[in-house]
Symmetry: C2
Subunit: 107 residues, 2 copies
């Protein structure tokens, strides 16, 4: 349906978009690494001071806040919530692997 | 095991860490919004030019690259791969919701 020129232009555009996606993925990975370092500190702090591991009010706040931020960014709020649940699940999994019993999820 | 001063200091530190986590989550949401906008453009471009939707070589490259970036950032490479699979699943879900048949996953 398109001539060679159109196809060439499309491939150029595809490469450009993929470069942006790769840049964004690199940034996401680095931010996730930083986030895990901080939740690790939270876990250690709570263990050291005998603070309650779970904090449902904090978790509810985080979800509400992320949904709001997502809506403002034209991102599906359902996805933002699923994303947080996914990340938090990884935090829990790491803590279980390190220390046995489940600990605080959302921090 | 700790006196009131120690507990106060611990709560101050917890608040500080949570503020960092909230900042990182806001950044993550904004980057995800940008990433979804780009994959949306990829989907439209491919549909417009009749380009193949799936690209297994591209997907394999993305996974290998994210695992490498994760390792350099002291993030679990397994987690980075699961993260990409999670995001890509959302892209597919969005495209299915929009247009019926499944389309390219990783872009």
């Amino acid at each position: 349906m398109n001539g060679p020129d159109s196809t060439d232009a499309a491939w150029t555009e595809l490469r450009r978009l993929r470069q942006s996606i790769d840049n964004l993925d690199a940034a996401l990975v680095h931010l996730l690494a930083e986030r895990f370092a901080r939740t690790q500190q939270v876990g250690e702090l709570k263990a050291r001071h005998g603070m309650a591991a779970a904090d449902p009010a904090r978790e509810a706040e985080q979800i509400a806040r992320l949904r709001q931020l997502a809506a403002e960014s034209h991102l599906d709020p359902e996805f933002a919530e699923k994303f947080l649940v996914f990340i938090v699940g990884e935090v829990v999994r790491h803590h279980e692997a390190l220390s046995g019993p489940p600990r605080d999820a959302s921090r």
